[in-house]
């Protein structure tokens, strides 16, 4: 269904959801925007030239969470997380797409992560398309787009004084009940806005044969070149909406077993108990990060593990740019495989 939501009516609508849901929306934190729970005084921030600093994956996979609490005499009990039904408002299409990609890892036949699943089932996502796409994003390059609908219950298009509300599920429809229908003309205008946004985005790098090139050049000097100025911090991976690695640690003083975000860019990530480290330097770690997204994801689920949100590009402390790295990868030699 296509509806119209006047912007001045938005605050009341958001507040009306609070009775039944925890509502999360981007709000100002210091000098950036961050998904935080709606309060009486919340101010929605969507005018920034780009996405929230931390991706909303943190709402599904928190930076740190207790899994198990230890009790006296060697026993343990569930940490008993209470997860309320919730609405994530103004999630950007790249981030919603990322959450859907992560389902392939957390919801599997052999094993499903119960906390992930519960959060997924209890969440309604109201997406806000990017009518002015950010400069560092490259969603169209990796096969998505500024108005990508994957994993959204609702997609909003900013039309100036009002939003076009496209409901994409029953749950989404219920949240926007009672709004007037959008005229065909309004929808047509919104489609133009969507198309223009899409057309504004340049091709950041070619994806054709990229997987093969990265694979076949596993031992190339290329990795040395692109990792030279890497500091080995976790900015790119922690801000990334599709990076999902975690580490499980027993915090004995808290008597908790916790799950923390972890990253392949850290030395300790692949360090083995013997002292051996199969990825001893930033060369191998950088290769892992890029190959995971542009080779291994494809091997496993036939999708690129990057949604082009641009956060790694913006916040890398040394200005390393994955787009430039992959453009350079495209110049590597490779042989066409005729197998299968």
């Amino acid at each position: 269904m296509n509806l119209i939501l006047e912007k001045h009516a938005l605050p009341d609508l958001l507040q009306s959801w609070r009775g039944n849901y925890d509502v999360y929306l981007p709000q100002k934190m210091e000098r950036f925007s961050h998904f935080m729970p709606l309060t009486d005084n919340s101010v929605l921030v969507t005018h920034e030239p780009h996405n929230t600093r931390i991706s909303p994956k943190a709402l599904f996979l928190p930076m740190t969470e207790a899994l198990v609490k230890f009790t006296r005499f060697g026993g343990y009990e569930d940490a008993q997380q209470v997860i309320q039904p919730r609405i994530i408002f103004a999630i950007r299409p790249c981030d919603a797409q990322a959450v859907q990609l992560l389902d392939t890892s957390f919801i599997q036949e052999a094993y499903t992560d119960p906390l992930w699943l519960e959060r997924r089932e209890k969440t309604i996502t109201v997406g806000l398309g990017c009518h002015e796409p950010c400069q560092t994003g490259f969603c169209t390059t990796v096969g998505y787009g500024p108005f990508n609908k994957a994993d959204l219950d609702v997609l909003l298009t900013d039309m100036g004084d009002a939003y076009l509300v496209e409901t994409l599920s029953k749950a989404g429809e219920d949240c926007f009940q009672g709004l007037p229908c959008a005229s065909d003309e309004f929808v047509e205008q919104a489609l133009i806005v969507q198309r223009n946004a899409h057309d504004q985005m340049p091709v950041a790098f070619e994806t054709e044969n990229l997987k093969e090139k990265l694979e076949q050049n596993f031992n190339s000097d290329y990795w040395e070149t692109v990792s030279q100025s890497c500091l080995g911090c976790g900015v790119c991976t922690f801000l990334c909406p599709t990076c999902f690695c975690f580490d499980i640690v027993d915090e004995t003083q808290r008597r908790e077993r916790v799950r923390n975000w972890d990253t392949c860019m850290f030395r300790t990530y692949s360090l083995e108990a013997s002292g051996h480290n199969p990825r001893p330097s930033k060369v191998e770690r950088t290769r892992q990060r890029l190959s995971h997204k542009f080779v291994y994801w494809l091997d496993q689920v036939n999708q690129i593990g990057c949604t082009g949100c641009g956060r790694c590009v913006r916040y890398c402390p040394v200005g390393l740019d994955i787009r430039a790295m992959l453009r350079q990868a495209q110049t590597l030699p490779f042989e066409v495989s005729h197998a299968g």
Partner: protein, 316 residues
């Protein structure tokens, strides 16, 4: 503003004559806002070298990434020169294996402030001592350079490299050394509760990515205390205790070693203020021991030394 051609000429000479094997400097990034640290191995590569106010890293951090015995050239500003000296004092590099190209520095520009002013669609940035001109698709914007500078740079008292092998460009007038104290005194004037609230508010945005650690030339430990498992020195996760533990211990490990270059704050993806802690410790070092790090390549930081005639052993 630095004479880029003169820098390039000297770097080419160093590589052509085999004075050094590699020169660490900057090259352009994919966007004008993010120049990248770069390693130049041959004179032909040097065409792409850049040096401007947006070069936000302290290049001295790469010194410990390279083999100790490698002959390294580095383009250094005031703070980088002092960090290099501090590393030499700590025996991480010997002076003979280094060639320092000094460039006086007018302060590092905060690219995030540019984005706040003009958006992300930056096509080019030009700068002089007073103004930064940013070209975007919407037009040209003239911004005051001083308003765009990082806090550490605004209070910098060492804009000129002090022990470079060659200085490119005329030395600049040095900054007022009292400014550093003013920043500390502002924090010290708060009550204990206010200070703790400030510290909590900053530390608890932390995501434990350790960009501050990796950006810092003095954080070169092979194993950082936070990565140590047995015993565990601080909580592992993004919990208040873990985040505060990291920030306070990180700062204390810098006592008498920090040049207040501000690279930690510039690297932080969460805009966490950190230098108020290290500057407080720097200030204590100045007040109690008349010590400032990196002014020479012999003097050990006070907390790294012990002598039998120490007056008050094991107390400040």
């Amino acid at each position: 503003m630095p004479d880029l051609d003169a820098i390039k000429t000297e770097v080419r000479r160093l590589l052509a004559d085999g004075v050094v094997e590699v020169v660490v400097a900057f090259k352009p990034g994919d966007t004008p806002l993010h120049p990248q640290p770069a390693f130049f191995h041959s004179p032909e590569e040097v065409d792409s070298l850049v040096h401007n106010g947006l070069c936000q890293n302290n290049l001295a951090t790469f010194l410990t990434h390279l083999p100790k015995t490698k002959k390294v050239g580095m383009v250094v500003r005031g703070c980088e020169n002092r960090s290099v000296n501090a590393l030499i004092v700590e025996k991480q590099k010997s002076r003979e294996n280094l060639y320092l190209l000094g460039v006086p520095c007018e302060g590092i520009i905060d690219w995030r402030k540019i984005v706040e002013h003009v958006g992300e669609a930056v096509l080019a940035v030009h700068e002089n001592s007073d103004e930064v001109t940013v070209e975007t698709r919407e037009g040209q914007f003239n911004l005051s350079r001083n308003e765009l500078l990082h806090a550490s740079c605004l209070r910098c008292a060492h804009r000129n490299p002090i022990s470079a092998d060659i200085l490119i460009g005329e030395p600049l007038p040095e900054g007022d050394p009292n400014l550093a104290r003013v920043a500390v005194e502002e924090f010290e004037s708060l009550t204990n509760e206010e200070r703790y609230a400030w510290f909590q508010k900053e530390a608890e945005r932390c995501i434990r990515c350790y960009a501050c650690r990796e950006a810092c030339p003095m954080c070169y430990c092979t194993e950082c205390f936070v990565d140590h498992i047995e015993p565990r020195w601080t909580e592992s996760g993004a919990t208040p205790a873990g985040m505060q533990g990291w920030h306070i211990v990180r700062a204390f490990h810098q006592t008498g070693r920090c040049t207040d270059c501000g690279a930690c704050e510039r690297a932080c993806p969460m805009d966490i203020k950190m230098t108020y802690l290290t500057e407080k410790l720097n200030n204590d070092m100045r007040k109690k021991y008349a010590f400032e790090v990196g002014l020479d390549i012999q003097t050990q930081p006070p907390f790294a030394t012990v002598t039998l005639d120490d007056k008050n052993r094991f107390s400040v």
